[in-house]
Amino acid sequence: MGIKDIVSEFLRFKSGLIGVFLLLIIVGMAVAAPVISDEEAGYRWYDIEWWTEKNIPKGVPPEWVGIIEGREYASTSEFTYRIPSREGYRFTFNISYDMAADVPPSDVILYINVSKAEGAADEEYIVVMNIYRPDGTSLSRVLDLTTAAPLAKITLSTDEKARSTIITFMKKYDPENFEDITSRGLTNVIDVVKILFSEAQEDVLLEKAPPLKGEYKFEITLFRRSTNVTFNEARLVVLGSAYGIFGTDSFGRDIFVGIIWGARIALVLGLVVAIVSVLIGVVYGTVSAYVGGWTDEILQRIQEFAISIPLLPLLLILAYTFKPTIWNLILLLIVFSWPGPVKTIRSMALQIREQLYITAAKAVGASTSRIVLRYILPQILPYTFALVAFAVPGAILTEAGVSFLLGAQGTLEITWGRILSDAERKSAVLTGMWWWVLPPGFMIAISGLAFVLIGTALDRVLNPRLLR
C-alpha cells in the first residue's frame, strides 16, 4: 500500500480526522507558544519572583467565567500619579478607583518611586494611606510605614498594618465573628482586600457580605525628612479578580502559559519516546524473527525480562537519582518502552519471512540485509505508524505521572504533570481552584485521545483484517 492510498483510506475515518484535528490544536499551541506568550515565561515558570513582578492576580479564575456566571469580575487597573517636585516635607494626593464589579479586586499594590541624593541612600521616608469608601466610611492609616527603598512596593493583602486596620475597622459591624476568628487565631486567613471592597455589615468577616460598589478614594501621604529624597511617582495597581484564558495559580502564574509551554514538552517527549522506542522495537523484532534460532531465543528472553520490569516505581527512583532534565526522562522512558512492540513485530516478520517472494529474492541472490531492508521492513513500516501513535499517550501519561509524583524534585521544564503536582500541593481542589486542575488534566487526556484516535484509524487502514 502506497502512502497515497494510506492517506485516502485514512480520510474515510471520522475518528481519525478528529484525532488529527485535536493533534493540530496541540501542535498549534506548542508552535505558537513563544509568540502568544512571553518567551521568557518558557524557562521562568518556576521563578516565582519573576511572576510576582508581573502584577498578575494570584489564584483567580479565567475571565470568561464572568460571562457564564453573569457576574462582572474586576479587571486589573493601574493608576499613576506623578508627584510634582516642590519644597516641603509632606505630600498628599488622592487616587480614585471606581469599583463597579460584582467580584471585587483580588489585591491592591502601591509603588512609590523615589530618587535620592548621593550619599543619602539609607535615608528613610514615610508612607501613609487612608481609604475613603463609597458608603461614607473611612479607614485611616491603612498603611503607615517607614522605608528606605528607592522603589517601595506595598501589597495590601500581605501588609500587617493594612490587615489589622481593615479587620479592626470591620470589627464593629461583625463583632461575633471577630471574637470567633480571633479566638481561633484565624485572622491570617481572612481575605482583607475582599472585605475592604465589601458592604460593612454582618458576616463581613466571613467574606459573606456583598460587594460595595462605587468610588474608592485612596489618600496617600508621603513624608520626607530632607530634600535628599525626591518623590517621583506613585503607582496604584488594583489587581483584578479574573485573569486570562485559564486563570492563574496561587503563585500568580498564568496557567495558559503553562499549558501551551507544557504542550511542547508533551509533544516532544511523547513523539521522541514513541518513535525511538518503536523503531528500536521494530528492528529488534525483525532481526529476531529473520535470524531465528538461538539468536531469536536469547533476544526474546531479554525482551520478556525487560517488559516485565515494573516501570513507574523504578522510573521514580531513577528520575530522582539522575536529577532529571526532560532529556534524561526521555532516555529513561525509551529504555523501558522499546520492548512494547517487539512481539507484534516479530510475529509479523515471521509471517513475511515465510512468504515465497522472500525465497524468490534469495534465489536471485539478495543478501540478508537487503531482504530485511527491502522486503520485510517496508511491509512492517506502515504498521509502525499505528504503533507510534499508540505509544505516544503512554509516554505522555507516564511522564505526567512521574512529574506529578516527583513534584519539585521532577523536571525543570513546564510539564502538565508538574502543573498538576503544584495544584495538588497547594490544595487547588479543596480551595475550589478548578482552573488549576482541569486544563492540564484535560490536555493530558486530549493529547492521549488524539493519538489513540489516529492510531485506531491507522490500524484499521493498515491492518486490513480489522476493516469492517
Partner: protein, 372 residues
C-alpha cells in the same frame, strides 16, 4: 559401493553437452526434537525428502521430474538451485568462463573446478551470488512469489540491481521491457507499471519467467509452474517455458505431477517415488514403454479424452497412499503399494530386503526394480 567417487571421477563420465550432473544427492530434514527427546537420547529422526538420486541434464533440454505430492520433487529442485543446502552428494554444473572468473574473484580462487564444472554442493552460500545468475527457479505459487508491495517494474529491477546489470535505471528499464516482451506480456510498458494483484495467475507466472530470464541463466527449475493457474491460461505459460529452451537455449528442470504435460513438453522424464528416482528415460520411452510398476500405474491413470469411454472405470495398478518419508519401508520403498510385488512371490524376499539400483534396460532408459 566400494570406492568413494569424487567429482573428478564423475566428470570423466560426462559428455560435452551435459550441463548438470546430479550424483548421489541427499537432502534430509531433521525433525525438531523436544527437550524430553533430547534428555531421553532418542535418535534424531529425519524426513528423507531426497535420498541418493543421480541424473544428468543436457544443454537446452527440458527434463521433467514426475511424482506424487511429497515424493521430493520440489526439494530436489530447491536443492539444485541451492535454496536448500544438500545433506550430501554432488551437483556438477558447467559454468562459462565469465562466471568462473567471478567465482574466483569472490572466493579468492578457493572454489574448485572440475573440467569447467563446479560442484554446487560444495560452494558455501556466501559465494553463491555469481552462480545465482545462472541458476533460476520459477515457483508453483504465482500469487505469493511476487512481492505485493512493489510494481512489476520494481520487482524485475531487483535482480538487475543486485547483480549490477545495466548502468542506469533507464537502461535497466529497457532490459525489463524486453524481458516482458519475450514472455509476450504486452504492452510491456503497461504491465511494468502494474502491481502483482492487477495481473492474472498466468500473467504473474510469465512475469516470474521474465524475471528468471533477466539474469540470462543456463538452468531454470520450473516447480509445477502451471499447477495453480486456471486451465485456460496454462498454455501461455507452457509456451513461454518452451521458449526458454528453444529461443534462449536454457535447460529446464520441469517439476510436475502431470504425466501428460511432462510428455508434451519434455525431452526426458525422471519418475520419483519417496525421495528416489525409480525410472529415467526419454519422454517417449517413459510414456510408451513404462517399466516400473509405479510408472505403469501413473501412465495408466492418464485420462483419455473420449466421451465413449466415460463409463469405463480404469484399473489403476497401485494400492494405498504414499508412505511417510520419515519411516521409509526397508528394501524397495514401493513394495507396500506394488501390485507386481503381489503377483511375483518369487522376488518378494528381495523386494523387502534389498534396495533396487537404477539399471539400464534399453539405451538411455533406466529403472530401479527387481523385476528387471
Amino acid at each position: 559401493m566400494t570406492k568413494e567417487f569424487t567429482p573428478q571421477d564423475y566428470v570423466k563420465e560426462l559428455s560435452e553437452d551435459d550441463l548438470l550432473a546430479v550424483r548421489d544427492l541427499v537432502k534430509y530434514f531433521p525433525i525438531r526434537r523436544s527437550v524430553l527427546d533430547v534428555i531421553a537420547r532418542r535418535r534424531q529422526k529425519f524426513v528423507r525428502a531426497v535420498d541418493h538420486i543421480s541424473f544428468d541434464i543436457k544443454k537446452g533440454v527440458i527434463f521433467s521430474l514426475v511424482g506424487e505430492s511429497g515424493c521430493g520433487k520440489t526439494t530436489t529442485g530447491m536443492t539444485l538451485v541451492r535454496l536448500y543446502d544438500p545433506t550430501s552428494g554432488h551437483i556438477l554444473f558447467k559454468v562459462d568462463d565469465e562466471t568462473r572468473k567471478k567465482l574466483d574473484d569472490i572466493s579468492g580462487g578457493r572454489i574448485k573446478f572440475y573440467d569447467g564444472y563446479v560442484d554446487l554442493a560444495q560452494v558455501p552460500s556466501k559465494w553463491m551470488k555469481p552462480l545465482r545468475t545462472k541458476l533460476q527457479i520459477i515457483f508453483q505459487d504465482p500469487y505469493s512469489s511476487l512481492n505485493p508491495a512493489y510494481r512489476i517494474r520494481d520487482i524485475l529491477m531487483e535482480p538487475l540491481v543486485i547483480h549490477g546489470i545495466g548502468d542506469s535505471p533507464e537502461e535497466r528499464y529497457e532490459i525489463i521491457l524486453k524481458a516482458l516482451e519475450a514472455v509476450k506480456l504486452v504492452p510491456a510498458e503497461d504491465i511494468a507499471n502494474r502491481f502483482p494483484h492487477m495481473l492474472s495467475g498466468g500473467q504473474r507466472q510469465r512475469v516470474n519467467i521474465a524475471k528468471a530470464l533477466l539474469l540470462n541463466p543456463s538452468f531454470v527449475v520450473a516447480d509445477e509452474p502451471i499447477a495453480m493457474i486456471d486451465v485456460s491460461l496454462r498454455a501461455e505459460v507452457l509456451l513461454s517455458i518452451l521458449d526458454l529452451k528453444e529461443k534462449f537455449g536454457v535447460s529446464v528442470l520441469f517439476i510436475t505431477h502431470d504425466l501428460t504435460i511432462a510428455y508434451n513438453i519434455s525431452d526426458y522424464i525422471g519418475v520419483m517415488y519417496l525421495g528416489k528416482l525409480v525410472e529415467l528415460g526419454s519422454a517417449e520411452q517413459i510414456i510408451k514403454n513404462p517399466l516400473h510398476p509405479y510408472t505403469q500405474a501413473l501412465v495408466a491413470a492418464i485420462p483419455i479424452p473420449d466421451p465413449n469411454r466415460r463409463h469405463i472405470i480404469k484399473d489403476i495398478r497401485i494400492k494405498g497412499e504414499i508412505t511417510s518419508a520419515v519411516n521409509v519401508p526397508p528394501g524397495c520403498r514401493f513394495h507396500p503399494r506394488c501390485v507386481a510385488f503381489d503377483e511375483h512371490p518369487e522376488i518378494q524376499a528381495r523386494c523387502k530386503a534389498e534396495e533396487p539400483k537404477l539399471i539400464e534396460v534399453e539405451k538411455g532408459h533406466y529403472v530401479a526394480c527387481h523385476l528387471y
